[in-house]
Amino acid sequence: MELLYFGTKGWGDELFVAFLMTIAVSITAMFIGILFSIVFTPLKLSNNKVLNFISNFYTTVIRGVPELLVIYLLFFGGSGAVMFVASMFGYNKYIEINAFITGSFAIGIISGAYSTEVFRGAIQSIDRGQFEACKALGFKKFIYFLKVIIPQMLRLAIPNLSNVWQITLKDTSLISVTGLVEIMRQSYIAAGSTRDPLFFYSFAALLYLILTFVSMKILNKLENKYSRGF
């Protein structure tokens, strides 16, 4: 138990900070993922074949390729890509992207592919009559999406979105390979310097269990809230 003391004696405070870091990365990644799906879901539903292809390409590739490979791509290629864009604007110095941004971006791209599929499924399972009624009443497209379709879609999407959240949360453990100090990385450091991997990795597993358990409780409440009246 001494290993978990706060301060210089134990690893308690470091692990606590790492725990917060995991939460921060997961939330940022989920947010980036939802931004991605806001862009790609309309493309997926559009009648334009080219736009459809772009969106299908994104979701198929990301969901068919291991997360670790996507992370390596962004970790090794990310700063090169940013420098390339920057050089077009005449900025030629070396840019190093911080591990937090690379990590949450990588996980966000992955999470976005899953949530795009969730949103597509939810919108497609809304009764066609709802769309027709809106058109018949002469609503503008923007208004009817905002006021009619999205509220109904959220009810259908939230159970699956909570699955996406769980996946995102667990995927954040993978960005420890890039050196970002979250739960997994901190446990690795602690296990290395104390020679007690069993304890630290089991403790990391416990922290993840706490996170998944608590978030499941919260999401169930949200689910109940949005399905009032059904």
Binding site: L69, F76, L198, S202
Partner: protein, 224 residues
């Protein structure tokens, strides 16, 4: 784009795919057996057995696969007692540690898939069997299991694909699977995009094969 690198790395990545496929198939076989055992335990009327199975699947589904591999590979070696038993011959190999972790992980997910399949079997089927005087054992093997397999096929197909992606984590415990070799080539050549395209296409091709195989199996079994 460095086409030469792409062409040169292709054979290396292809031979690493073999390791990935070995890891995948072995862990799926062990995982299926474990999953079936845990699904049956979960449906048991004895609360202790059902709860044990539930907590097994909860723990393995609630923690990242990476933690599970690390506990088994780095953690278990720390127990002095284990080192003296015969188990150590298995646990000192990263290959088997990865397979154990993958099997337990996919076993947990498979048990959930099979459990829900067992629970959605209409009680009428079982009652019909009973009224014909068929013994419980035969009802289980000839009625419940075939229906459960049929019902769980689509979900199990997804699990196979998730597991294929999961095997990439073997590269974190020094195994040279497809992702491991890809990472090695990336870190020596600093050409991430090219290697990603080649390795990614191999993974996508495998996903495509699995997807179509499951579709074919579904058609064969007549599920819709």
């Amino acid at each position: 784009m460095d086409l030469d690198l792409m062409i040169n790395s292709f054979p290396k990545l292809l031979s690493a795919t073999l390791t990935t496929l070995k890891l995948l198939s072995l862990s799926l076989i062990f995982g299926l057996i474990l999953g079936l055992i845990f699904a049956i335990m979960r449906l048991s009327k004895k609360k202790i057995i059902a709860n044990f199975s539930y907590s097994f699947s909860y723990v393995f589904r609630g923690t990242p696969l990476l933690v599970q591999i690390f506990i088994i590979y780095f953690g278990l070696g720390q127990i002095e007692y284990l080192r003296s038993t015969i188990l150590w011959t298995v646990l000192k190999e990263p290959y088997w540690c990865a397979i154990i972790a993958f099997s337990l992980n996919t076993g947990a997910y498979t048990s959930e898939i099979l459990r829900s399949a067992f629970q959605t079997i209409k009680p009428g089927f079982i009652e019909a069997g009973k009224s014909l005087g068929i013994s419980n054992k035969i009802i289980f093997y000839k009625i419940q299991i075939p229906i459960a397999i049929k019902q769980s096929l689509p979900a199990y197909g997804n699990e196979i694909i998730l597991m294929l992606k999961g095997t990439s984590l073997a590269s974190t415990v020094t195994l040279m699977d497809l992702t491991g070799v890809a990472k090695y080539i990336i870190s020596t050549t600093f050409k991430p995009v090219e290697v990603f395209i080649v390795a990614g296409s191999i993974y996508l091709f495998l996903t495509f094969l699995i997807h179509n195989f499951i579709k074919f199996a579904e058609k064969k079994m007549g599920t819709n």
